[in-house]
């Protein structure tokens, strides 16, 4: 249902779908190829994960209008479905669309990712706590992986 609402685009390798810090009103569903999720940590871009077909990218940034906290680019030629914020909002607006199927799909994905992200954050915290008498530190990469999850929602997991 989500895919039907958007516009199919073929992207060459290394195309930037969304840059860290960028405000976007587009989200993407990957239908072919792979997309790398990366974040700048201590001044260097670090790859956090690679997402394939079925992944939904930049949904949170597209909907709430806040800057994307990771970058997303295609690793090889890829096909994505581009969905605009207005289209997403239309799917969620009962006055425009009283069929709850798309909203249910989105809610289910969102809930699972929220639960996963908070579990990741809890694990990062437990590692950061350290042993008694010692000060703990977060692993920046672990923290960034939480953001990879909040910013890129994968249908496959």
């Amino acid at each position: 249902m989500l895919v039907q609402a958007g516009r199919m685009r073929t992207m060459p390798a290394l195309s930037l779908l969304c840059q860290e810090g960028q405000v976007t009103d587009l989200c993407f569903v990957v239908t072919a190829g792979n997309v790398e999720i990366a974040k700048t940590i201590a001044g260097k871009s670090r790859a956090l994960s690679t997402l394939g077909p079925g992944s939904i990218l930049a949904l949170m940034a597209a909907l709430d209008g806040a800057p994307c906290s990771v970058s997303m680019r295609t690793l090889a030629d890829a096909t994505v479905v581009e969905i605009t914020r207005d289209c997403l909002l239309g799917l969620l607006d009962v006055n425009q669309n009283s069929n709850p199927t798309a909203a249910h799909q989105l809610a289910l994905l969102g809930i699972r990712h929220l639960r996963g992200a908070t579990d990741d954050l809890a694990r990062a915290l437990c590692h950061a706590i350290g042993s008694p008498g010692q000060e703990g530190h977060f692993d920046p990469l672990e923290l960034a992986r939480v953001q990879a999850r909040t910013n890129a929602w994968v249908t496959a997991d």
Binding site: I41, M60, L114, L121, T150
Partner: protein
Amino acid sequence: MTYQMRDVRLFESFSDPDRADLVQFMHERHYAVGEMVCTRGEPGNTMMVIVEGSLSVVVPGKDNQPSEIARLAQGAVLGEMFCIDPAPRPVTVMANEPATVLELGRDDLTKMRQEAPRAAAALIGAVFREVLRRMRRVDDRVEREQFAEDTRDLNAGSIRAKGSTLPGPWEACFARLRGSA
């Protein structure tokens, strides 16, 4: 049932007819003082709205003693995600005083999608927006901690702590972010 639920924040975008439809699919439950509404770890597949009284949200604290992390009053919603995606309850909830709760289960939502699709769409959309809001809070928290790590700035709001267990306030934070309290 005559509950209007106009003061419930989760339902603020609902029209009156949608709100009335929703109530028709909910079940009224009554709890005596000290009675358990749900227990941490048990399977959860319902959301609840407090229409009278108040409930305590409890997690294991120091030495595994129950620690209250929130007190929910009339109009509060708990477990709104569970009727869409069932999962073990991360917290225990008990009545502090005689309380009345309206409960909506996953099966009720399935029935509602068939018989009152507009109200079901309004509810699911509202839960989705709440999820999005909490997701952004997780993201913002991570961003702040990332910044603190980068600058080695040990500010007071940092998650960093000493000890070997998750500190109580963070149990509370995660419970809230996950939508259980």
